[in-house]
């Protein structure tokens, strides 16, 4: 029983990180119909910039406490990623907005690899240890079930950001413009919405979320690496599709469900398949879910949009 509870805790923590990353995918997809392949790599840049900033702060301003240092590093990386997100949209995607779908997708893959390569040149190929500013000392919540302060922070921050984003999209002027643009570019611009600005804003917000996710990811695992964004990015995309792409609530639900499936599946697949499969298949779950959802319910769990628009 404690084992199952522990797996659920593990799954929820991973899942809330997936959810946060998935929000970025889902926002961009909702508005542009583009899979922003580079989103996971923005996350990586966020983590590595924060790492660099924190290192510098620790040398030059050691009197700053742990949490202020982390917050300062986080803000710097959020700003850097916002600029990066805007630059990517402006240079690589905007010109291709009316091109056939293959073109922006290939560019997106190119941007993803470009970011990884540049990061590899700057930070090298080694794994970096990420400063542990929040405690990872385990707390025994229920007998036999452990959770760390970092993990609690991740759950709280993710939930807060998600709620904030929902409020932004549903209650503000910017949010209304975003929804209008997502519905129909041309009509939105006829109604006086500056769609270029709105799309840029979407990228900026998405990148800021990716930066936060990157810092949380690195704080939790204590490492940062030039290729760290790819796999979480792919899985978060799966989460977005699972929940119904273009739907904010769906991205959150999808993230949590995927996290739980991976954790519980990885823990029990061997018993469930009578030893035929084992934890080496853990990374397959995301891909299989992705395929099954797209084939049988392309709108996802909560999606109202038709996924298959040419």
């Amino acid at each position: 029983m404690e084992t199952l509870l522990q797996q659920i805790v593990n799954g929820l923590v991973v899942g809330s990180m997936y959810a946060l990353i998935a929000l970025g995918y889902t926002m961009v997809y909702g508005i542009l119909g583009l899979i922003n392949f580079a989103h996971g790599d923005v996350l990586m840049v966020g983590a590595l910039v924060a790492l660099e900033a924190i290192r510098l702060l620790q040398i030059h301003a050691p009197e700053l406490g742990l949490v202020p240092t982390l917050l300062a590093g986080l803000s710097i990386s959020v700003v850097v990623c916002m600029i990066l997100g805007y630059t990517i949209e402006r240079t690589a995607y905007r010109r291709l907005r009316n091109a056939p779908r293959l073109a922006p997708l290939i560019t997106a893959i190119g941007v993803s690899f470009l970011l990884q390569t540049i990061a590899m040149i700057i930070w090298g190929r080694n794994y970096h240890s990420f400063p542990q500013l929040l405690s990872t000392a385990p707390l025994e919540a229920i007998p036999g079930v452990f959770i760390t302060p970092v993990q609690i922070t991740i759950l709280v921050v993710s939930a807060t950001l998600m709620v904030a984003l929902v409020v932004l999209v549903n209650k503000t002027r910017l949010g209304r413009a975003m929804r209008a643009t997502a519905e129909n570019h041309k009509v939105a611009s006829l109604m006086g919405v500056d769609t270029n600005k709105i799309i840029a804003a979407t990228f900026i917000i998405g990148s800021a979320l990716a930066a936060v996710a990157g810092v949380m990811f690195s704080s939790n695992y204590g490492t940062a690496h030039y290729a760290m964004g790819f796999l979480p990015g792919l899985k978060a995309f799966t989460a977005a599709v699972l929940g119904g792409i273009g739907n904010l609530g769906g991205a959150m639900l999808g993230g949590l469900v995927l996290g739980l499936v991976e954790s519980i599946g990885g823990g029990y697949i061997e018993d469930l398949s009578f030893g035929f499969f084992n934890s080496s298949y853990q990374d397959i779950f995301a891909f299989i879910i992705l395929g099954v959802v797209l084939i049988f319910r392309p709108t996802g769990l909560l999606g109202e949009r038709v996924a298959d628009r040419a």
Partner: protein, 370 residues
């Protein structure tokens, strides 16, 4: 000025005519670019030092004085590049090759050396398959993963605890080593309570560690690289698991200590094939010579590369020829005191009595246990 140049040229010609030196080229190959560039350079320098010392001493083969030359190449730790480089060695007519570092590069390249009739001695590839292909002139001076897996399994089951959980990263290295550990644990009276798997790109091990926790093992063996080992140690602590932890040479680095932060303690062990440099019979002296020549520290593989090159030269001396067809048969029979200990090969081409050293984490670094 002009005259003196001509005179010099004439003198130079004369000198080479008098000595009638035969140049023998040996290949040294390892990744000289990329993340392992420092280890590759270590191998190249080891070979260079050995051949320079032989040149200084003077070696005569078949009545002719020979001069050894190094042809260094970069395989970028990539299997495809390795085969291209191997082909280049065969074309250039080198008499023997010392390399490669990575097993993934060594194995496909060994096929080309075998076809080209060139002996290969690897100073660093530990995958058992390298010498199991039935090639007559493929050797290595480092203990292979069978020997290391045996060392880990035996130490885990006899010194750390009977109930063992094994995790591997599903790479050729990780899986091969884990299989040997599994066998050795059982052979030494221990039991493998579970085998779990991850990947060399993973960061989250909580699901498999939670599963392991439920089986309550005494020891967790991790067969993989340091980049995963560090975060894994953290997550072991985070789940409140009290088992001991032991990993192979992939995790026996300074990097894992950095990555694990405060989660690594005296409960962590690791193994390295071979002896630590200061425990090698010729270690101290070698270190001094190496430092003087290259103004660099020995990383890991220089002594093995040095002895690999020496083995080739010793075999040539025994055959009294640098012809690969003639001296290859003598390579299997060499027996001389090298830096790493006595250099002699078994029937497959593996080093005899390949040593494996166990280290324990103490006061911020890895300290040899035995």
């Amino acid at each position: 000025m002009k005259y003196s140049l001509v005179a010099l040229a004439v003198l130079g010609l004369g000198a080479s005519a008098v000595q009638a030196q035969e140049v023998v080229k040996l290949g040294a190959v390892a990744p000289l670019t990329g993340t392992q560039a420092h280890l590759g350079k270590d191998i190249e320098n080891g070979v260079r030092l050995a051949l320079e010392e032989y040149n200084a001493k003077g070696v005569t083969l078949g009545g002719k004085k020979v001069k050894f030359e190094v042809m260094a190449e970069d395989d970028a730790a990539d299997p495809k590049t390795a085969t291209t480089v191997a082909q280049r060695f065969v074309d250039a007519g080198v008499k023997g090759v010392i390399g490669h570092l990575n097993s993934g590069a060594s194995i496909p390249a060994s096929r080309i050396y075998n076809e080209g009739g060139i002996p290969q001695v690897s100073p660093a590839s530990t995958n058992p398959k390298l010498t199991q292909q039935g090639f007559k002139a493929t050797f290595r001076t480092i203990a292979n993963d069978v020997q290391q897996g045996l060392g880990i399994g035996k130490f885990a089951a006899t010194s750390l605890g009977k109930k063992v959980a094994v995790i591997d990263d599903r790479t050729a290295y990780g899986q091969g080593l884990a299989d040997e550990v599994d066998k050795a644990v059982k052979a030494n009276g221990g039991s493998v309570v579970t085998r779990e798997f991850t990947s060399d790109k993973a960061t989250d091990f909580l699901a498999i560690l939670t599963r392991i926790k439920a089986k309550n093992p005494d020891v967790i063996v991790y067969s993989g690289m340091d980049a995963q080992g560090g975060p894994m140690l953290k997550q072991i602590k985070q789940l409140g698991i009290n088992a001991k932890f032991i990993t192979g040479d992939g995790g026996c680095t300074g990097e894992i200590i950095k990555l694990a932060g405060d989660a690594i303690g005296p409960n962590a062990y690791c193994t390295q094939p071979g002896l630590p440099l200061d425990k090698m019979p010729g270690g101290k002296d070698f270190n001094a010579r190496f430092k003087k020549r290259f103004n660099a520290d020995v990383q890991i593989y220089a002594p093995y590369a040095y002895d690999a090159a020496s083995a080739i030269v010793e075999a040539m001396k025994a055959a009294n020829s640098s012809d690969p067809g003639k001296y290859a048969a003598h390579l299997g029979k060499v027996n001389f005191p090298g830096v790493i200990g006595t250099v002699a090969f078994d029937a497959r081409g593996d080093i005899k009595d390949g040593a494996v050293t166990v280290y324990q984490f103490k006061a911020g670094k890895w300290e040899p246990v035995q």
